[in-house]
């Protein structure tokens, strides 16, 4: 059987999926990145390999997420794509006719508008990450509850409390203040969900026309409290697919399928990459006053890739401009 491997290494989570030629997801792995993208990606590859059916061949591999470059070199990707294209590709398939994608991850949030399966417009959070998963994590930890329980608890709210959500630090001050006044935790939590939704609509979705069908994905889509707050605020049902936390990886797998369609052999290194020692190192180039940070990824003494500098001085001979991205 032929299948495609999609990898999404983000700030908070590392996700891998195996997608068959017939577009079913055989296997999905969701791990916390914990600031160690290489180790965690290797653990993910090992986990995928352990559960792979007999006789399955990985015909192509795609990476996305903020560590897409790094992951692409380690796994040997056929395509390295930004998160917006990856999410749009997967969602257009998973949610037929989708017109709006709300994606909230660990530190990024995005809105993507689609028409007839192609991207019409998009936006990402710019100056602030107040409404993203990391903040919810932090608040759950502060209140001593598990992040998984935050949503269900919030749904128990009867009279939500208004929380000032423009800035994370002030939101926290405001939550503490409301606690000290004696408000119920459930009401504060749902208030927080509403604040996050308000923040998203004001900052990320500002000026964009949100029309149904609306898909909600990214790690935060697991949170039923936020889902409810979006539905109440927008007045439309929100679709959350079973694959909402690995949508980017599915998109990467679909793009890999596209990339090797012409018959080109895959550059996937195989699951053995999970056991190979990889080391990333960096140095500051002193050839000019730009002081570029040059990052090298090597394995067993062989330099696999370099990226970071502004000029081509450090390009590897056979792979110029690794940081560059192929066109359409």
């Amino acid at each position: 059987m032929i299948a495609y491997l999609g990898i999404d290494v983000g700030s908070v989570s590392t996700n891998l999926v195996v997608l068959t030629e017939g577009m079913t997801v055989l296997n999905q792995v969701y791990l916390r990145t914990r600031g160690q993208p290489i180790t965690v990606l290797q653990a993910g590859l090992a986990e995928v390999a352990a559960n792979l059916p007999e006789g399955l061949t990985i015909r192509g591999c795609g990476t996305t997420g903020s560590a897409r470059q790094l992951a692409g070199v380690i796994a040997g990707a056929d395509v390295i794509k930004n998160e917006i294209t990856a999410h749009a590709t997967a969602t257009a398939f998973l949610v037929p006719g989708v017109r709006t994608i709300i994606e909230i991850g660990g530190q990024d949030s995005k809105i993507i508008l689609l028409r007839d399966g192609w991207v019409l417009d998009f936006a990402m959070n710019t100056v602030c990450a107040a409404g993203t998963g990391s903040f919810l994590d932090q608040q759950a930890a502060r209140l001593g509850i598990r992040i998984e329980d935050l949503g269900p608890m919030a749904l128990g709210s009867k009279t939500p409390v208004r929380i000032a959500g423009r800035c994370t630090v002030f939101a926290e001050s405001d939550m503490i203040h409301k606690q000290q006044l004696g408000h119920r935790t459930e009401d504060i939590l749902y208030g927080l969900c509403e604040a996050l939704v308000r923040n998203y609509l004001n900052n990320v979705a500002r000026g964009k026309e949100i029309t149904p069908p609306i898909a909600f994905q990214g790690g935060v889509a697991s949170n039923v409290g936020i889902r409810r707050a979006f539905e109440e605020t927008l007045g439309h049902p929100i679709v959350v697919t079973p694959y909402h936390s690995v949508t980017g990886a599915i998109g990467a797998a679909m793009l890999a399928r596209e990339a090797v369609r012409s018959g080109k052999p895959s550059s996937f290194r195989g699951f053995a990459a999970s056991a190979r020692p990889f080391a990333a190192s960096s140095f500051e180039c002193d050839r000019c006053a730009n002081h570029c940070e040059v990052i090298s990824l090597s394995s067993g003494g062989e330099i696999l890739a370099r990226w970071g500098p502004r000029c081509p001085r450090w390009d590897l001979e056979d792979r110029p401009g690794v940081a560059g991205v192929a066109t359409g």
Binding site: S66, V119, M124, G207, A289, G324, T327
Partner: protein, 353 residues
């Protein structure tokens, strides 16, 4: 600013000065500017301040800059920067060149002051013609570079041709030399191996003049987009701007085109950004990128209006507000997604047609 230093070096060295021109602001330049400027001043202020400090450290005695046209605070940046520099203990003369129409006598006074060699009026006129010709040649080279980047077969070869062309131009003395250098430069571009059949996107670039022209302030976005397969065309070049503002200060095509959306000049290049968006859309460009310094009011106004232009004329717009906090990864991700989106749109349109 941007690629134009050879032209200005030409002018001042022939007037009898030893010219200190930091070729391109580096990370050091930026850090110097950020450290010494008030936080909420815009990035052009900070980078030019850093450049002045570097020049003064190299022994510059006179700082020459231009004034501003219209209600943008850049009009008195020179004076504020001079104040900061003097408080830091630097001693120098400041010459601010304002448009001819605004203050003809002041300009004459400044020209006399800069004319160290006591060159004759005909000689000065000749020099100005040489400078304008150099600027025009630099803009021509820039246009070639932008056209070639997405089509070159070996990455970096267009850039190399450009660097060579600029070097030859820098050494040219007379009008004839400059013309020969211009031709030689264009021939070097001709020699770059390219794929003329490769489909490329066309992206217009609008925004505030400094961040549009100075690659060090915009994370080299022209190069970034060029290497992603887009031919980038800035709405502003120095030859174009000079013709429109220095001599006459009268209206231009962009201002007219902006009319239905923004009928009044709002300072900086706000009105031009809107107008050029309209012009790019009418020329069938695939997309538009707006570049602005963080806190730039004229561009904030333009940003508020661009969605209407985008909707009416079916032109996708991506805006960046830049300062020292702008991360390259974020800009790159958005540019990649924008380029992907433009390809999808084009294929979609071709599919429909």
């Amino acid at each position: 600013m941007g690629p134009y230093s050879p032209a200005f070096r030409h002018l001042f060295s022939r007037l009898g000065w030893e010219v200190v021109v930091p070729d391109r602001p580096t990370q050091d330049t930026l850090s110097l500017g950020f450290k010494n400027a008030p936080e909420f001043f815009c990035v052009p202020f900070k980078i030019t301040l850093g450049t002045y400090i570097e020049a003064l450290e190299q022994g510059a005695e006179v700082l020459v800059t231009t004034g501003g046209v219209g209600p943008c605070r850049a009009g008195h940046y020179a004076q504020v920067q001079a104040d900061i520099l003097r408080r830091k203990g630097y001693a120098f003369d400041l010459v601010v060149l304002e448009p001819i129409a605004r203050d003809p006598l002041g300009l004459l006074r400044n020209v006399r002051r800069l004319n160290r060699n006591r060159a004759s009026i005909p000689r000065i006129v000749r020099l100005v013609r040489q400078v304008l010709k150099k600027i025009a040649a630099i803009d021509q080279f820039g246009a070639e570079l932008r056209r070639l980047r997405p089509r070159e077969l070996r990455r970096g070869s267009a850039e190399a041709a450009y660097d060579g062309a600029i070097k030859t131009l820098d050494a040219a003395e007379t009008l004839e030399d400059i013309e020969a250098a211009r031709r030689r430069g264009l021939e070097a571009f001709q020699a770059v191996a390219r794929d003329p059949e490769r489909p490329v996107l066309r992206i217009g670039l609008v925004g505030e003049i400094y961040v549009v022209l100075e690659p060090a302030s915009n994370l080299d976005i022209e190069k970034m987009l060029g290497e992603m397969g887009a031919e980038v065309q800035p709405s502003i070049t120095l030859s174009g701007w000079t013709a429109e503002n220095v001599v006459t200060e009268v209206g231009n095509r962009a201002k007219e085109a902006a009319g239905p959306y923004l009928g009044a000049a709002i300072g900086g290049h706000g009105q031009e950004s809107v107008g050029n968006a309209v012009l790019f859309a009418k020329r069938g460009f695939d997309g538009l990128v707006q570049l602005a310094p963080f806190t730039c009011i004229p561009e904030i106004v333009a940003r508020g209006i661009l969605p209407a232009v985008s909707r009416d004329l079916d032109l996708p717009v991506l805006s960046f507000f830049l300062d020292e906090q702008t991360g390259e990864a974020g800009v790159r991700t958005r540019c990649e997604a924008f380029v992907d989106m433009l390809w999808q749109r084009r294929r979609g349109k071709e599919g429909v047609a």
